[in-house]
């Protein structure tokens, strides 16, 4: 297996996504440990200008598969383009961010390359010259360490589990022929959920509430806490109990059957901490729990706990956070 690493870079509104910067940093470190080089792959239409940003984050080469055919995102088209970049670059390892797009593409690219794949890795290491990926399994009740037995290894990285950093490199642009032939499926329409909010899986702070908040009308308390962190910092999450009750949309559900998040700070309010909920947040860096029951299982994983009534603690916390930001 080649020691070179290729990182698939995703963009939104002309900006490389934060999770892709994290993947670039992880790719740089992995390539360093393998004594290989790290490059980036950019795929789509009108995306050439992103090469500079990728270079700023350490890509020695940037493989660009550009075509009007890929103007609307196509999973099959994009996967073929990334596989072409991997083949042209000669990379053995291909890294993706574990985003909606990344987790859809990685298994397809792995299949096209007849390679191995591990999704949702939270740690990478190089042991005896081979990349080893760790990922939570069984809803986070165990960690599996895997190594490839193939010429290619595609790995998706959990957002926020790896730190992004700049490290300017040459970023020499290499053109790759975009795939020809028919596309099997394309994205026809994208609708923004709530433009002002940070995507749940990218937020550095997640504030979640559960049945302890008693009813959907009390979510203003949670919104105020989110706002207190300032724009672009915090996002709102929910337990399944409140999603099933119809108080909150499923897109906010955190847990095994919802989203998996790993922010710097996770605040759980009135959430008991069922194993399926923990599966979605236990790899958060710091966990704060607010619950009136001192026996609630959420306290077992919380770094900091406050035993108390959410209706009393939340407003005080919101006020205190607001003050620290002034």
């Amino acid at each position: 297996m080649s020691n070179d690493v290729l990182v698939f870079v995703e963009q939104q509104d002309g900006q490389i996504k934060k999770a892709s910067f994290e993947a670039l940093a992880a790719g740089r470190e992995t390539a360093g440990n393998l004594s290989g080089a790290v490059s980036a792959a950019i795929v789509g239409a009108g995306i050439r200008n992103l090469a500079t940003q990728a270079a700023q984050h350490g890509a020695t080469k940037v493989f660009v598969a550009e075509s009007d055919v890929l103007a609307a995102h196509s999973g099959d088209g994009c996967a073929r383009a990334i596989a072409a970049c991997a083949e042209q670059s000669g990379a053995g390892t291909v890294l993706f961010a574990h985003t909606a797009m990344g987790k859809d593409l990685a298994p397809r690219v792995a299949q096209l390359l007849d390679g191995a794949c591990t999704t949702d890795a939270t740690q990478l290491s190089v042991v005896d010259g081979v990349l080893q990926a760790s990922k939570p399994v069984f809803a986070g009740k165990a960690i599996k360490q895997l190594r490839p037995n193939a010429a290619h290894y595609c790995v998706t990285l959990r957002p926020n589990a790896f730190a992004a950093s700049e490290a300017p490199a040459a970023g020499e642009v290499v053109n790759v022929a975009a795939p020809d032939g028919d596309l099997l499926a394309i994205v026809k329409e994208i609708s923004a959920a709530s433009v002002n909010h940070v995507p749940l899986q990218e937020a550095s702070v997640v504030v979640s509430a559960g049945r302890g908040l008693k009813g959907p009308e009390h979510w203003t308390l949670l919104e105020q806490l989110v706002e207190a962190f300032g724009p672009g910092v915090a996002a709102m999450g929910a337990s399944r109990a409140v999603v099933d009750a119809g108080w909150r949309p499923h897109s906010e559900q955190v847990g095994q059957t919802g989203k998996v998040v790993a922010p710097m700070l996770y605040i759980a309010v009135g959430i008991s901490g069922a194993i399926q909920h923990l599966a979605g947040m236990v790899t958060s860096k710091f966990i704060v729990a607010i619950n009136k029951d001192p026996q609630a299982p959420i306290f077992k994983v919380a770094n900091y706990g406050i035993v108390g009534d959410a209706f009393e603690v939340l407003p005080a916390l919101t006020e205190a956070i607001r003050t620290t930001r002034q």
Partner: protein, 248 residues
């Protein structure tokens, strides 16, 4: 319409996972196994599609003979026939996809439904791998679906929004919660299921492409600390977040 559903038998989400002596697998003793929760959405969507457009629903799994029970559940929900490909090893996603894709070719399905991921390894690979092997269109994590004569439109959540994917049949659709409400098998269905065909054949998956180096308990979280009670504890919390965790 020829509709295929791929299902897997997995440990129930609330089961205890004990790591086996080899340090690479888990001890299945005493673990309760169930149909993968996301596969229930897949079976339901297949049945709904058949009700709307006619056709046959086949459920297929690669696993041990214990999976007969889960296939019977799917038949009781309303699937027409079941295929159990038996194998005692632990094939990885690539090996599973290879066996399932090969067998799928015999059925020439218009649609293949999968779960978005199996809750054992939470991999989410088999669906897109099968699609790639068969040259089918694919939409993953789908939470709303429309099937036309030879097209589909599928909606999925993306960061900060939703997207609609349009494509051609045949297609692989991996199902996310929200797509439907899976039905429960009724008594009539359970009785009927006993007479439906369940074919069993031995499978020989290719070598795994990933090797398990270790299965370990998760890293211990730092000892929890209850800071105090009620709003009075907020000051201590802010101090910890600023000076100890340094996240503010």
């Amino acid at each position: 319409m020829e509709i295929l559903v791929l299902v897997k038998r997995v440990p129930a989400t609330d089961s205890q996972i004990k790591i086996a002596a080899d340090g690479k697998s888990y001890d299945a003793q005493g673990v309760e196994f169930v149909l993968n929760p996301y596969d229930e959405f897949a079976v339901e969507e297949a049945l709904k599609t058949k009700e709307a457009r006619g056709g046959t629903v086949t459920v297929m799994t690669l696993g041990t003979s214990a999976a007969q029970k889960d296939l019977r559940t799917c038949l009781a929900m309303g699937a027409d026939k079941a295929i159990l490909l038996t194998c005692e090893d632990h094939p990885d996603s690539a090996a599973v996809a290879s066996v399932l894709a090969e067998k799928s070719k015999e059925l020439a399905p218009d649609l293949i439904f999968c779960g978005k991921q199996a809750v054992d390894d939470d991999a989410g690979q088999v669906g897109p791998r099968v699609a790639t092997l068969l040259g089918f269109a694919c939409a993953t994590d789908v939470n709303s679906l429309e099937i036309g004569d030879d097209t589909f439109a599928a909606t999925r959540d993306i960061e900060g929004g939703r997207e609609t994917i349009e494509g051609k049949l045949p297609a692989v659709i991996t199902c996310q919660k929200g797509l439907n409400e899976p039905r429960y098998p009724n008594l009539k269905g359970i009785m009927a299921a006993k007479k439906k065909p369940l074919d069993e054949a031995a499978a020989t998956p290719p070598d795994n492409k990933v090797e398990v180096v270790a299965l370990e308990p998760p890293a211990e979280r730092p000892a929890p600390s209850i800071l105090g009670e009620g709003a009075a504890a907020v000051t201590t919390l802010i101090d910890k977040l600023q000076n100890e965790a340094k996240v503010l």
